[in-house]
C-alpha cells in the first residue's frame, strides 16, 4: 500500500529540527528509522502533514561513555546498539533485548530512540529502559528536559514528551560488577511481537540476590515495573526454587494485560509469572544461556 502525501523536512541540526517541528504544528511527525512509522503510513493508519526526518541530525547520533552511565543517541540504530562494545560491556541487558527486536534489516534502520518514543508496550525496549531506570533527554524550542523512565511512558503509544519535543538521547546507568541480565521474550513465531517479555537484572552476592530490577513487556498500556517481585526476591537464595517461584507469582500484580489475537489476559498473567521466574534464574546465571 501507499502512504498519503506529506511534506518533508530534513534538518541538519538539533536546533533546526526542533524549530521545524514547532513550525509544522501538531500534525507533524518525527521520522526516526521509520520501521514502525512507514508501515503505519502505508496502511494509511496515520496522516501526518509533515515528516521531520532526523536522519541527518548529528546531535542525535552516537553512543558515549559518560562515567556512571552511557549515553545512547536517539538515532543510534538497533544494529549500532547490538554491536557496540560499550553497550555490551556496560549495559548488556540493552544489547540482549535489542538483538531480539525485529530482524537484521529492520535493526539496520530502526533506532533506539525511535522505538522508545513510539512507546509500544509490546515493544521490547520500553520494559528494558524501565527496568534499568534510564533517563530520557529531550529538547524542545524552549527547554531541555531529563525525564526518568518511570515517568516517560504515559499510556499506549504515548510518552511524557510534548508535541514540539524531540528525544535526543537516553542515559543508561551502569550497574557495575556483580549484575547478571536476561531478557525473556515469549512469542509465537520469530517475527511476532512479544506475547509477554520480561527484562531482568540481578545482583548476586554471598549466594543471595542483593538487588533485582524487573519490568514487563506487553502487560498493560505501558511497560510495567514488577515492583512486588523485586521486593519479594531481594535476599532470596536463587537456588531456593520454591521461594523464588512464590516471589515470582506476584509478577502480574498491578498489570492490566491486553486481550488480542495471540493471548487472553489470564494467560498473559500466567506467562508473566513463569517468565519472570525464568528471567531471574537466567539473570542469576542458574540456567544456561
Amino acid at each position: 500500500m501507499i502512504p498519503a502525501a506529506f511534506d518533508y523536512a530534513r534538518p541538519s541540526s538539533l536546533g533546526d529540527a526542533v524549530e521545524a517541528l514547532t513550525d509544522a504544528g501538531e500534525d507533524a511527525k518525527v521520522l526516526a528509522g521509520g520501521q514502525s512509522l512507514l508501515p503505519l503510513l502505508r496502511l494509511r493508519l496515520a496522516y501526518p502533514t509533515v515528516l521531520i526526518d532526523l536522519g541527518r541530525v548529528p546531535e542525535l547520533q552516537g553512543i558515549a561513555d559518560e562515567g556512571d552511565h552511557i549515553r545512547i543517541g536517539a538515532m543510534a540504530t538497533h544494529d549500532d546498539v547490538v554491536r557496540s562494545p560499550l553497550v555490551n560491556a556496560a549495559c548488556p541487558l540493552i544489547a540482549l533485548a535489542t538483538a531480539t527486536v525485529a530482524d537484521p534489516a529492520v535493526r539496520h534502520r530502526g533506532t533506539f530512540g525511535g522505538a522508545l518514543a513510539h512507546a509500544d508496550p509490546a515493544g521490547d525496549l520500553p520494559a528494558v529502559a524501565l527496568a534499568l531506570d534510564c533517563v530520557f533527554l529531550t529538547r524542545s524550542a524552549s527547554e531541555g528536559r531529563e525525564i526518568p523512565a518511570a515517568e516517560f511512558f504515559v499510556d499506549y503509544l504515548e510518552t511524557a514528551m510534548d508535541p514540539g519535543e524531540i528525544l535526543v538521547a537516553v542515559k543508561v546507568p551502569k550497574l557495575g560488577a556483580g549484575w547478571g541480565y536476561h531478557y525473556e521474550k515469549f512469542h509465537r513465531t520469530a517475527q511476532s511481537w512479544a506475547t509477554v517479555g520480561v527484562a531482568a537484572a540481578v545482583h548476586r552476592d554471598d549466594g543471595t540476590i542483593q538487588d533485582v530490577k524487573v519490568a514487563l513487556t506487553n502487560m498493560g498500556s505501558t511497560p510495567v515495573r514488577a515492583g512486588a517481585v523485586e521486593t519479594a526476591v531481594r535476599g532470596l537464595d536463587p537456588h531456593d526454587a520454591t521461594s523464588l517461584a512464590a516471589a515470582c507469582d506476584q509478577a502480574d500484580q498491578g498489570t492490566s494485560p491486553p486481550a488480542d489475537l495471540h493471548a487472553q489476559p489470564d494467560y498473559r498473567r500466567h506467562l508473566a509469572r513463569v517468565l519472570t521466574r525464568r528471567a531471574i534464574r537466567r539473570a542469576a546465571d542458574l540456567e544456561p544461556g
Binding site: L43, R188, Q191, H262, Q264, Y267, L271, L275
Partner: protein, 785 residues
Amino acid sequence: MTEQLTREPATGEVGRARRRKEDARLITGRTQWTDNIHLPGMLHVAFLRSPMAHAKILRVDTSAARGLPGVVAVYSGEDFAAEQGSLPCAWPVSDDCVIPEHPPMAVSRVRYPGEAVACVVATDRYRAADALEAIEVDYEPLPAVLDMTGALTDAAPKVHESGNKAFTWKFAGGDIDAALQDAPVVVERTYVQQRLIPSAMEPRAVVATTDGDSFTLYSATQIPHILRVMAALTTGIPEHKLRVIAPDVGGGFGSKLQVTAEEILALLITRRLGRPVKWTESRSEGNLTVHHGRDQLQRITVAADRDGRLRGLKVDLLADMGAYLMLVTPGVPVLGAFMYNAIYKMDAYDFTCTGVFTTKMPTDAYRGAGRPEATFAIERIMDELAAELGLDPLDLRRRNWIAHEEFPYTTIAGLTYDSGNYEAATAKAMELFGYEELRAEQAARREAGDPVQLGIGVSTYTEMCGLAPSRVLGALAYSAGGWEHASVRMLPTGAVEVVTGTSPHGQGHVTSWSQIVADALGVPFEAVTVLHGDTAVSHKGMDTYGSRSLVVGGVAVLRACEKVKEKARRLAAHMLEAAAEDIEFDAGSFRVKGTSAAKSIQELAFAAFAAHNLPDGFEPRLDADATFDPENFSYPHGTHLCAVEVDTETGMSKIRSYVAVDDVGNVVNPLIVEGQVHGGLAQGIAQALYEEAVYDGEGNLLTTTMADYLLPTALDLPDFITDRTETPATTNPLGVKGVGEAGTIASTPAVVNAIVDALRPYGVTDVRMPCTPERVWRAIHGSSS
C-alpha cells in the same frame, strides 16, 4: 537430509538431481512478474473495498474522486452492472447446489469484507490510491453470518435469498448402521479445520490491454487456459480474441487457481478506456480477498472391534463456502470425501457434507484441497482410537492398512489404489526417527514429571492426486476434464522445443520436462526448451494444481516424444533404405539392426526440415502433439513421524525432529521432489501451529497483515529428515504419482498427534488448531477461553 541424492546414480536424465534451468533469471532479478510489466500509456487501477461484512449499498458517489489529479476514470458496480456477468463456479457438486450470482464488483449488496465496490483508474498507483479516499459510499449494515451451525438455523439472517445452505453431498459405501451397531468401541470427535490464508509470496497482479479488437490479459495465475475460457464466457470477449499470459508467477498453492473479480474488471476497464491497465494487490488487500482455504467443521465417528479392526466410519461435515461459490469452492470438501477412509480397510463408510454460506471471503483450493482435511480427521481419530484401545498408534494402523500384496485394492470409498507399500515406508520412517528410543525417552520424562513433555505423532497418509481422470471428474459434476496436452518439436538444428499445457509457478517443470525429453529422444538436457503459460503459445492445456502436472502433463510430454520418435524411425528407415521395424533406437540414434548404418535424431530433424528426401506422404516436420488422460488418480503415500517437546508451563510446542518417508512412485528429479516435500511440510506444520484467519464478532477480518497472520520463519521450522520408498504407479508409463501436496496433507495430523500424545497424561484428548501456546496451556489446565 539428502539421502536420496546419494543413492545409485541414474543412468539417464530421469532420476538425476539436475539443477534447475529456471533459476538463472530468478537469482539475478531478470524476472517477469506481472507487476514488472510496463506498457506504453498504462494506467493503474485501485479498488475500494467494503469495510463491512454484510450491507446494502445505498449510494456510491464517485464525483469528488473524478476531479482529482491523475484520475482518468472512477467506476462503481452500477457502471459495470450490464456487462460484468457473474464470476464462474465450475463445480456444481450436486443437483441441489445453489450458485448465487457473483458480480465482480458489488452493485447493491456486499457479502464479505473486502468485496470491491468501486475503483479508480489513474496515471500511477499513488494517485489511484489517493482518489479511493474521495469516494463516498453509504451502506445499510446487515447482520453478519459467521458461524456455520448458526447459519443453518431458520432464524439466521440470509446471505443469499435462497438461504445459507449451498448444497448437501452424500456418499455411502457398505452398511454403516450394521457397522456401528453393537460395535465394541465407538469413538466420536469433532475437529475444526481453521480458515487459512494461502499467502503465496507474490501478491496477485493483473495487466490487461487491447488493440481495439483483441485482448491480452497478463495475470499471476496458475490457470491461463481455464482463465481464458472462463473470462471469455464471463465478459463476452470471443475466446479467439483473448490471449492469457501467466508470466513468472510467484507461488500459488491453489490461491491462483481462480477466476478473480480483478481479472474480469481489468478486461472491462481496458475495453472501455482502450488503454492498458494494471492492478497490483497489496498484501493487506490480498489477505482479505484472495480466496481462503480449509474452514470445515468435521464430526467423525469410528467404530472398531476390541482388537482394533475398523468396522465403519461416519463423517458429517460442514464446509464454509464463504459468501459465494468461486471456481471450485464446493468441490473442495467433495475431493476430501474419498480420503477419510485413507489407507484402511473397513466394512462401511458414510459421508455427508453440507456447504454453508457465510459473510466471509469465499474458500477454495488451498494446497491439498479437501485431502488435508480428510487426512487430518482420520489420522487424528486413529490416534484417539489407539489410546482408547491401549494400542500403539502404529500398531493400530498396521492392523487396518491395506497390505502391499493386496494391491490393486478397491476401497470402501470406491477408489482403486493401484500400488503402495505402507509397511516399507513405515519401517524406514521408524528407523530414521529412532521410534523406540524416543518412546523410551517419553516414558522417562513422564516418569520424572518433566515440565517439558515429549510427544510422538504419527501420520500414515495417502492421497488421491494427478487430477485427471476426465471421466471421473465428469461423474463428480466438475465442468471440465483433466487431460493434459504437450507438443514436442525437433527444430532444424537438433534442439527441441516443448510446449506444455501445465503452468508452473515454482515447480520446476522446465527442468523436469527437459529430463523426460532428453531420455526419450536421446538429446542433451541442455538442448531442450520448454514453453508454457501463454495461450498463444500453448494453445491447449488444463494448467497446474492438484499435483497433476507430472502425472498428467509430464506423461503427455513423454507420449509426444514417442510419436516424434516413430516419425523419426520412419524417416530413418527411408533414408537408410531399411524397413521401419529393422530400425532400433538407442540414445538418440536410429540404427539398422546388425549394421553400423545409422542416423542421429539431429540429422533426421534437419532432413525433415530440408524435405529433400522424405517418404511419400511424410510431412516436412519432426514434431508431434499428444494428450494424456489417465484412467485413475494416483495415490502417493507415506509415513511421517514427528517428535514435539511441549513446555507444559507455557504451552509452547517445539518440533524436535520430523521424519517424512514418502512414496511418490518413480522420481524424475529427486532435488525437486525433496523441495516439494519440504515446502509441503512447512505449510502443513504451519496449519498445525501458527496460521488462522480470524474474523471478529462483527465479521471483520483481524488477520489482514503478515504481522497478524503468522507465517513460519526459518527459526520456527526444523531441519526435515526426508527419504523415500519407490513403489511405481501402474496407471501411467512414467510410474510417477505427484508430490506437490503430499507434505501438506501428511504433516498437519503428525504435529497435532504429537502434541496430544505429549499431553495424554494430563487427560488431554484434543487441541484445536492452530495449537497456540495458549490453547495448549488451557488444554493442560482444563480451562477454555
